[in-house]
Symmetry: C2
Subunit: 141 residues, 2 copies
């Protein structure tokens, strides 16, 4: 069943709020961006920092086992993160799964878009502890 | 004439958009925060970075020669900035004046609030070039 834009937006916001809470609970200050319509400049969904690490997140959630992202979304995220000095990740929450954080280079590219399957997320994605913690830091970059 | 909350809010947003454009034009990636009602966590109005400097701004504009800020606004800004790893400033735009950026320690404190007069802004505030540029860097912190 196709989902209207409004439905997707509010779903996105719910995931964003959830990630914001998670970040604060782990010692990161995190901020949600104003609606993307408010400016023509690129903007991630969330930016977070703890004085050492800075992250720019595009936030996605999915009830299915696959999620598509537009090339523009990823381009904008990358552009913002590079200018700001943050590390760009797609933060994705599949239903009944924990958060996975994917580097842009780990996304699957198709002709028209980027794709994240649950399998790809599990294989390539970082768990929250890996993203922000000290162990397996070598995997990060 | 008293200004309603809605009027102030949209005026605030206009100043925020103006500062966002200024920041991008000077090589900073800048992001506006979602409405403060969207989360119970502290949030500045704007966050900006260029890979070296990170700023958290509370943004104000005024048609008068004086602007009041609540103690809570400043506390929240300071809290966010310290957690994030950004330098907190009040960015203020008086009518027909350029932007001034005030350190929190330079704000005038009264019993109930913080106050910025145009005179204080001119005396203590940093100009944009001082805030972000290389000259007079010593004045910064």
């Amino acid at each position: 069943m196709p989902v209207g834009h409004k439905g997707r937006k509010s779903k996105g916001s719910k995931a964003e709020r959830e990630l914001i809470h998670l970040l604060w609970s782990k010692g990161f200050a995190a901020m949600r961006a104003a609606g993307s319509g408010s400016t023509q400049h690129p903007s991630p969904d969330i930016i977070a920092g703890d004085g050492k690490l800075f992250f720019a997140f595009e936030v996605k959630s999915s009830k299915d086992r696959v999620k598509y992202l537009t090339k523009d979304e990823i381009t904008q995220l990358d552009l913002f993160a590079n200018s700001f000095g943050a590390r760009p990740f797609v933060a994705i929450k599949f239903n009944n799964e924990k958060w996975y954080f994917l580097r842009l280079t780990d996304l699957k590219v198709t002709k028209k878009s980027y794709v994240i399957t649950l399998e790809l997320a599990k294989k390539k994605g970082l768990r929250f502890e890996e993203l922000t913690g000290k162990y397996k830091q070598k995997r990060l970059f």
